[in-house]
């Protein structure tokens, strides 16, 4: 609060838009902001809508009556949800730690202005931004050469190195750590390992936190790797599970012959209700949405260092 008032210099006060314009901007932008958030509120409302209201009225912002049956049933019978939660948490945490660590190590190497092989290493990572072999060769290699189809490893490893993140980390290291510090360390006879682990890592905490949060959220939200590679129910990540449930239900409903057959009806019966699906959405999204405002500072900083040209 205090910072906000000091930020406004006397010049800014003169060079202001007219109060009326400010008012209009404020109102319009507030409306836009509320409309942006409303769809997510709708999902929550549906998750606590009673079945009666759903049959009578369909989805609505104002249900006739509410019920928490969806959440109760999830907590009673949600073994798939629990499995998916556990695997997603495990994968996300381990992935984030490893990803940030190895990318920072690489970024540190790229930040060594006087290191002859730096250009080679920069090219290696930069070129992957320009050209890729595409989905199929990766898929075939992962499945038939590395044999990591339907394993924990494919979930953990996919997307672990991001060119953009490395560039951001490199920029962060070379702008926050003065080069004299490296020189001083070298004169004192500190090895590169020592400089990296004792100086660079501790001093780059803010940068690591920023990138770490992006990696964390990205992994938590990843659904495609699971769609492509995972069959074992114990390994299905949360987001993949959501998409699979949704598509399976639609598939049965869209096939009128299947939907009206006893088999189809049985299958539909066993599928989670619409409230339950919405409840799953709420439970998978809450951690991210709750965490976000606390880390907003870091996110915005990360986005802006990223915009520095690499």
């Amino acid at each position: 609060m205090a910072a906000d008032s000091t930020e406004t210099s006397s010049f800014d006060r003169i060079n202001r838009i007219k109060p009326l314009t400010n008012m209009i901007f404020s109102v319009v932008m507030s409306v836009v902001a509320v409309l942006t958030v409303v769809p997510v509120a709708l999902v929550f409302i549906i998750s606590i809508t009673s079945s009666l209201s759903l049959t009578m009225r369909g989805f609505s912002f104002v249900p006739l009556s509410t019920s928490f049956v969806a959440y109760e049933s999830l907590f009673k019978t949600g073994s798939q949800l629990v499995d998916s939660y556990i695997i997603t948490i495990e994968v996300t945490l381990l992935h984030t730690v490893l990803s940030v660590l190895i990318m920072t190590m690489y970024a540190y190497v790229l930040a060594q202005q006087r290191f002859g092989a730096r250009k080679f290493y920069t090219f290696v990572v930069f070129f992957t931004m320009l050209f890729s072999g595409g989905l199929v060769p990766s898929y075939i290699i992962n499945v038939n050469v590395l044999h990591i189809y339907d394993t924990f490893w494919i979930l953990l490893l996919s997307g672990m190195v991001g060119t953009f993140n490395i560039i951001v980390l490199r920029t962060f290291i070379s702008t926050t750590i003065p080069i004299e510090l490296f020189d001083a360390a070298q004169i004192d006879g500190a090895s590169d390992f020592k400089v990296f682990f004792r100086i660079v890592l501790p001093l780059s905490k803010a940068g690591l936190a920023t990138i770490g949060l992006f990696v964390l959220v990205g992994k938590w939200n990843e659904w495609f790797t699971g769609m492509l590679y995972i069959d074992n129910p114990k390994l299905v990540p949360l987001q993949t599970m959501l998409t699979r449930i949704q598509q399976r239900i639609d598939f049965i409903k869209n096939n009128s012959s299947l939907a009206s057959s006893p088999d189809g009806m049985q299958m539909l019966k066993n599928m989670p209700s619409e409230q339950t699906r919405m409840a799953i959405v709420v439970l998978t999204t809450l951690p991210v949405l709750f965490a976000y405002p606390f880390f907003q500072r870091y996110f915005i900083r990360g986005m802006t260092i990223g915009s520095v040209k690499g």
Partner: protein, 315 residues
């Protein structure tokens, strides 16, 4: 500094000495280097799949050679034109709409002088950025599913309200562009707000002395300053001109067959050819087509930008 540069790797015997001196740096780079070799560079050689009839037993380099048959087969289907058209048109629409909206929002957010309100609004605008595409798909379903809010409202207005929107083609191009904007504009707008606040106030002071209005300041100071970052984002987007969004085109549309005509993109085509049809050759051919064109586009656009405005070029 120059003396030291000369020491490292410049003389003939220097390379080995330099390696010995800096072996720890190579070790630090090793994990990412290995990762990229396995997961990025090996697949680049794996594109041979596009020219053969792959069999697991015979492997990448032993499978029967087909030459360009896979490409012929792909381009003969009507799908080739459809997926190319959709991919490019969607990307043009996404880029145009998202860029102009985020610049507009950034200009407004920056001018609002109750900073706390502006910050709160920014926090709200960026929220959809943190939703996964699986969640977005269900949010969309909540609106336009058979029992969705849209149908509920139509019923309240006396309409039948039983439209099955998931097979109603005219809706989808607009809907996908809208969803993309909803999800992405807040994020980019904040990046722009941050770069606007980095512009030195001297420019504005001088402009005010010359009697420039707020609009003129935006036109002649703020927008030119944003140009570099906008151009860099555009070049990067150029490279992905041929890259579809699986989240939007597959997940949000719930892979509905009736919609392929208007939503199918190269990525969804590749995915289906691989997972549903098991046609590795054609899927790889489509993927290679996508990569090569993307590569050419990014090189060409960067070359053009370098001619016109060297500072904004990517490399």
């Amino acid at each position: 500094m120059t003396a030291r540069e000369g020491q490292i790797g410049k003389t003939r015997t220097g390379i080995l000495t330099a390696f010995k001196k800096h072996w720890q740096l190579h070790v630090l780079a090793l994990p990412v280097l290995l990762y990229l070799l396995i997961f990025s560079y090996a697949p680049m050689f794996g594109v041979v799949l596009a020219f053969e009839r792959y069999s697991v037993a015979k492997g990448f380099f032993g499978s029967p050679w087909l030459g360009l048959k896979n490409f012929e087969f792909m381009f003969k289907t009507q799908d080739a034109w459809r997926i190319t058209r959709n991919t490019v048109l969607y990307n043009i629409a996404f880029i145009t709409v998202n860029t102009s909206l985020s610049v507009l929002l950034a200009l407004i957010l920056d001018e609002m002088y109750i900073k706390r309100l502006s910050k709160t609004i920014q926090t709200m605008l960026i929220m959809p950025y943190f939703l996964s595409m699986s969640v977005v798909a269900i949010v969309v379903y909540a609106f336009i599913g058979p029992k969705g809010v849209v149908n509920t409202m139509l019923k309240a207005l006396g309409e039948p309200g039983n439209t099955f929107w998931y097979t109603y083609r005219p809706l989808w191009p607009f809907l996908l562009v809208f969803i993309s904007a909803w999800k992405g504009v807040g994020y980019t707008a904040i990046v722009y707000v941050a770069s606007i606040s980095g512009i030195s106030s001297e420019f504005y002071e001088a402009a005010v002395l010359d009697g420039a209005s707020k609009l003129q300041q935006a036109r002649y100071i703020t927008l030119p300053h944003l140009r570099h970052i906008i151009v860099i984002m555009l070049i990067l987007n150029m490279g992905s001109m041929f890259r579809g969004d699986m989240g939007l085109s597959y997940n949000v549309t719930q892979n509905t067959g009736e919609l392929y005509e208007v939503v199918d993109v190269i990525d969804t085509f590749v995915y289906r050819a691989l997972k549903d049809l098991n046609d590795t050759g054609m899927a790889a051919a489509a993927g290679l087509y996508q990569s090569v064109v993307g590569f050419v586009l990014i090189i060409v656009s960067n070359a053009i930008v370098r001619r016109v405005d060297e500072e904004s070029a990517l490399y």
